[in-house]
């Protein structure tokens, strides 16, 4: 036995370099991308206004990805995140611009709506045992319809500066505050998943429902709670979106769905490889947007956006699958 353990220990030490590379490959790729584009396009890419734009523009995606990470960690999909995001933005747009309701009250209502959608998703998934993929695909599409109905397919511009100022107008170090809100959500979710017992329990629920149940975890409640959390955080992303654009439009929010999944899965290949983690997703979001921004500066049309995110999602999932296979094949040590 001890020989086997020693050999294994050696292998682990031997692979620590490889592990480091695996953990930080995405960070390296991101830095490389920034350097390459800066060298090639010093006038347009390597400007502080461009960096500020890149950082500020992605806050919504960062937050909605963080929302998605929680149910993914618990082993459930949530495809209704962008439906909630759009509805939250629309609630603020309509109530604030048409009915002159104070914007903070609108924000509170939007967050409440997010919680409600999470409760409904959870009821179907946990109580009735329906696959989360199907349930949230349905509720997400349903919410999209609700948005078109209440907005009459119109865009509502002129949201109160009480919201836009603290989100996009005010800056810190030249970067809109929205970026820091996104960062704050990343830190909060990271803390939750790593340093609270609920976060640890969620991880086990996602890896093996059977083990979680036999260790006394309330699997149903935890999954339900994860869906409520993703509803509330998605609604917060909608608030941020309304603040950044100063308006509410009924369709553009849906475009965040695929990028959120791409960022979540690509993020799971770095920082803590094999686990959905907010820092990895944070890096992934900015890696993807840097690539897209750079390419558009070369005059490539905006369709590259879709190709980039679509490709990244498949690539990320493939990488993690290969990593898992490799792991399964090398780890079983016979008794000796």
């Amino acid at each position: 036995m001890s020989a086997g353990a020693a050999a294994l220990g050696q292998r682990q030490r031997g692979t620590s370099v490889a592990q480091f590379v695996e953990r930080f490959a995405l960070v390296g790729a991101w830095i490389a991308l920034v350097v390459v584009f800066s060298v090639l396009k010093p006038d347009t890419f390597a400007t502080s206004s461009n960096f500020a734009a890149i950082l500020g523009s992605q806050a919504v995606l960062v937050v909605v990805t963080c929302a998605l990470l929680i149910p993914l960690t618990a082993g459930d999909y949530d495809l209704s995140i962008t439906g909630v995001l759009t509805l939250s933005q629309m609630i603020i747009g309509i109530l604030n611009t048409r009915h002159d309701i104070p914007v903070y009250l609108c924000v509170a209502l939007a967050l409440l709506m997010g919680a409600l959608v999470g409760l409904i998703n959870g009821a179907f998934v946990v109580v009735l045992g329906i696959d989360s993929f199907i349930v949230t695909l349905g509720t997400g599409t349903f919410l999209g319809g609700v948005v078109l109905w209440i907005s009459n397919s119109e865009t509502f511009a002129g949201i109160s500066s009480q919201l836009t100022r603290p989100v996009v107008v005010d800056r810190f170090l030249g970067v809109p505050l929205a970026f820091y809100y996104g960062l704050a959500v990343v830190i909060a979710v990271w803390y939750f998943l790593e340093y609270t017992s609920l976060g640890r329990q969620l991880l086990f629920v996602g890896r093996s429902r059977s083990v979680a149940r036999l260790t006394g975890l309330r699997v149903g409640r935890l999954r339900w709670g994860a869906l409520v959390a993703s509803g509330v955080i998605s609604a917060a992303a909608g608030v941020l979106y309304a603040g950044i654009t100063g308006a509410a439009d009924p369709v553009s929010g849906a475009e965040f769905l695929l990028p959120a999944f791409a960022a979540a899965f690509l993020g799971a290949t770095s920082i803590v490889p094999g686990r959905f983690n907010p820092w990895g997703s944070f890096i992934a979001v900015y890696f993807l947007v840097t690539g897209i921004t750079g390419l558009t500066l070369f005059g490539i049309e905006s369709w590259v956006h879709d190709m980039f995110y679509g490709g990244a999602l498949v690539f990320a999932v493939t990488i993690s699958q290969i990593a898992r296979h490799r792991e399964e094949h090398q780890t079983s040590v016979p008794d000796s």
Partner: protein
């Protein structure tokens, strides 16, 4: 090599070694034309390994030979090759698709090989009925398999296997096929066995031989023509069933004559009592048991006798139809039991399926063992990860888990160390009742002794330890008291000097027979 024309399948000099452990040693087995051949042996005697060699699942060690219908076939077989050789297997899980109809299940292989652009379902249904009636079966071809009785499902799987053999031996008039039935009766009600047996005879009469794998002596005596007994991976003999008796077979299976009686063991003094009353669930029927603190109790019986249901029902992992648990002056209704409540009451369960139910292999050992005690590490700044790691390391050292590194991936540990980590995970919660199901399955010999030691220590510290197992040697080594189950009920309790490997084995087989008159409900089948 001289060939007996009556031999359908002949295995010679088959050995199989797993990581230095010999599972089969120089095994010879021949099945003749039109014969029902029994393969008997205890759990771990090598029956399953031998079957898996035939199925091409395991590659035997060099030197083994296989002949089918007189023709040598090179070993190892590749997976799926057995079909072309005219063999077919029916395992306990039957391999049917429950949500599809009888017709679809029966003809699925046929449809896959035939290129037909238009299936006439009316014709297929007629064909199904013809095939079924030729075996004396009356089933609605449109019925969903999930709606069938357990017995009918088993019979359908057997008929399908025979159809497969026929299709593959159709070209060769002289060829015989082989149907392998792997423990087919374990979950069948006794009253329906006759039906199964008449089909088996029917099959043997029609250009196919049957290898009947079982550990039920009665059945083997009733249905087979010859029997081969395996023990510790070696053939202990092949005899004509007509010349065999119960006693002869038991002696061959367990390897010794039964001792009349041996030394008395010291009785454990009574401690705090935990009682289970009237537990019914799965194949267990109205079971009442008492466990005492500081005592190791073994629960055993043949597979399907109901003892394996007990820990899962008591822990609330599986629904019980009735039953009560009384401990520390509290009463729990087992119908509404859930694991979190059981844990809170001080019950812990280490399930047999470590990989699937016990732990998450892709996470670290530390994460796995601290999961039940996360609340201990709460602080205003969140979980105290440093203390979690240092405590986990101490715990792993205390339980001699190697390496004692909490960051090590759980699935990278060897079987014995995985199990010691599971014991560490639960014993740190100081349970009043610890339930273990097959605690030394897949564990090497050294770790096995350590696990016994840990179980004894847990008992000495005041835990009531209950060990569910079919490993009689283990029960004899570690238990103060052994409860033998037969047909879903408590059949016998062994104490003191009665606790020997032979005695336990003999009781298990005895009660499978004595109670064979009592009826086991069809719904007793698992999943």
């Amino acid at each position: 090599m001289n060939h007996d024309p009556r031999e359908v399948v002949a295995l010679r000099h088959i050995s199989k070694t797993f990581d230095g452990v010999r599972a089969l040693h120089d095994v010879d087995l021949t099945v003749c034309r039109g014969e029902v051949h029994g393969l008997l042996g205890e759990n771990g005697s090598g029956k399953t390994t031998l079957i898996k060699v035939l199925a091409g699942f395991h590659a035997p060690d060099a030197g083994g030979e296989l002949e089918i219908n007189g023709r040598p076939v090179p070993l190892p077989l590749w997976p799926g090759q057995f079909r072309r050789l005219g063999m077919s297997f029916v395992h306990q899980d039957l391999g049917l698709v429950p949500s599809l109809s009888v017709t679809e299940n029966l003809l699925v292989g046929d449809m896959a090989s035939r290129r037909s652009w238009r299936l006439s379902w009316a014709r297929e249904r007629r064909r199904t009925t013809e095939i079924l009636t030729s075996f004396g079966l009356e089933l609605d071809p449109c019925a969903k398999v999930s709606d069938l009785r357990t017995t009918d499902r088993a019979l359908l799987a057997i008929v399908r296997a025979v159809g497969e053999i026929r299709m593959n031996t159709a070209g060769d008039e002289s060829a015989y096929g082989l149907l392998v039935l792997d423990e087919p009766t374990v979950f069948l009600p006794t009253s329906d066995r006759d039906q199964l047996f008449s089909i088996v005879r029917e099959i043997a009469a029609r250009r196919a031989s049957v290898l009947f794998v079982s550990h039920n002596l009665d059945e083997v005596l009733e249905i087979t023509d010859r029997v081969t007994v395996l023990r510790d991976g070696e053939v202990r003999g092949t005899i004509d069933t007509a010349e065999a008796s119960n006693e002869v077979l038991v002696e061959m299976i367990i390897g010794r004559k039964l001792p009349t009686n041996s030394i008395a063991r010291a009785q454990t003094e009574a401690g705090k009592e935990i009682s289970v009353d009237g537990l019914t669930g799965g194949s267990a029927r109205d079971v009442s048991l008492k466990f005492r603190a500081a005592e190791v109790v073994g629960l055993t019986g043949l597979v399907g006798s109901g003892f394996e249901e007990i820990p899962y029902c008591v822990f609330g992992a599986r629904a019980a139809a009735a039953g009560r648990l009384e401990m520390d002056g509290r009463t729990f209704d087992l119908r509404g039991m859930i694991p979190s409540r059981a844990l809170e009451a001080g019950v812990a369960l280490i399930p047999a399926d470590r990989q699937h139910d016990g732990s998450v292999g892709s996470l670290s050992v530390g994460d796995n063992i601290t999961l039940p005690v996360l609340d201990r590490y709460r602080s205003p700044l969140g979980l105290n990860r440093r203390r979690m790691r240092s405590d986990a390391r101490k715990l792993l050292e205390q339980f001699d888990v190697r390496p004692p590194d909490p960051r090590f991936r759980y699935q990278s540990l060897s079987g014995g160390n995985q199990q010691k980590a599971m014991l560490a995970k639960w014993l740190q919660t100081k349970p009043s009742l610890l339930l273990l199901h097959e605690p030394t399955q897949g564990v090497d010999v050294g770790a096995r002794q350590q696990i016994f030691q840990l179980m004894r220590e847990a008992a000495a510290n005041g835990t009531a330890v209950v060990c569910m197992s079919t490993d009689y040697e283990q029960l004899a080594a570690v238990c103060d008291r052994v409860v033998v189950f037969g047909r879903g009920r408590v059949a016998r309790e062994l104490t003191g000097g009665e606790i020997t490997e032979e005695r336990i084995a003999e009781q298990c087989y005895r009660f499978a027979e004595e109670h064979s008159g009592s009826h086991l409900d069809a719904s007793g089948a698992r999943r």
